[in-house]
Amino acid sequence: MKKVLTIDDSKVVRSMVTRHLQPYGCEVVEATNGQEGVEAAKLHQPDLILLDVTMPVMDGKQALAAIRADAATKALPVIMLTAESGRELVVEIVKLGVNGYIVKPFQKESFEKEVSKILGAPSATPPAPAGPPLDRHTVLVVDGDEAILASARQALAGSMQVLTATGAEALERWTSARPGVVLVNVATAGDETIGKLRGLGPSAFVGMAARGDMGAHDAAKKAGCHTVLDSPCQPLEMLDGILVATAAVATVEDQVQTLLGTRDGCVVLNLPDPRSKVFGKVLPSLTKRLRALGAEGGTKLVVDMDNVTESNADVVKSVVAIVTEATTAGLRTAIAVSSASVVESLKQIAETQNRLFPSRDAAREGLK
């Protein structure tokens, strides 16, 4: 994890800097004047120092000179944060070896432009702060309109646990429930609240914006929503949006886990449609997981190909890889496949031809 040292006598500015650094997922160390900052730079060896100019005890220019004069800190990147931007100050700090400067008051965009030169672009999803894992079965719906909240509750209640908030209390709700999904109306919640929520952890964010209001749609994307729905939307559209956003934040390991289940002592692998983006992405992790299942004492695997209706070279190659890996891991394997074209192509392959069954139940029976 990268480390950033912020040196500023103002607690408010240190707090603002910390919030602006959240998308970078870095550790932030604070110092309240130049002297403390020079010592902290030596101790922590940060990847970036953000240094205020006007401070008591030792000002930013003196601190920068001290940092550059010390062999232990002279190579550390420093960006000055200054309320002044006069030519003589800029010339002075450039001579001292500053890597950039940000003029206060600053917008998020100008801050990120300078900081990204040193730290690289901020990650799309901020990492979760320390705490229990997110509850993927809970959705927090944030909307200023009680009627929309009631409709969302009704639409989602059968699928997920639903929490609602009309505004700022969303932050408290998120902290207490750690929902895996946040469904938010950009117009009534405001992009600031969305930004704060995004900073709390890597929930999947679904924005809702008025149909046809492209400005609101753009604002939702800019605020970090993984997908944006037209509002008002149907329950199915809401669920679809949740799936899309969840897939955007899920790790490959999460996705592999969702493909695996157990039934009657068999591990069941629900092979995804080969046309889906998930298919190619998960295979390397999937074969790794199969090895682990064998090591954990698993003995039987059913590869359920009910979602695969057409055969092609990728499908065959993938199934052969899965069967080979499972066999090596000590798992007896059966393939449930109903599509005639898929059956025909797998019959041609030595690794699969004797493992084909017309249904999942038949495959499980075949392994008894």
Partner: protein, 153 residues
Amino acid sequence: MQGVTSVEIVEESAREVVTTTVGTEVVRTVHATVPDTTFNGFVATLAFVGTKGGTLVVYCHRPLAVGMAADMLGMTGEEPDEETVRDALGELVNQIAGTIKRKMGESGNGIMLSVPVVVAGAPLSHCVKSSAQPLSVELYVPNGSMCVCLWPN
């Protein structure tokens, strides 16, 4: 700073800082008179020193000062303590002064900013020794108003 800055520069600078740093809308501004020397609230002061001098003062009543500090910290549902409010007001006056200097262009060269001083009291006697007319602006935001005054030396 007499003759090299204007009430418009003070107004634009204050507006820029309040909208960007506090993140609140400035509803309107009025070229105002300076508040009474006896003021009930927070008074944030910063000196311009060097080739040209002056004193910048921000007067802000307590409820607005507390609200702006909370906004700057991203706090919801709790109130910042007195020290934090003073810190926030100090940062605001510092940023307004820096912006005024920047907007003065070449005329601002050779001017340095002091560390801000923020005091609060009820009532507070306040006096700036300057023979010049102050450049004074009242900024109205949704939750109140604040007065920003620059006394050129």
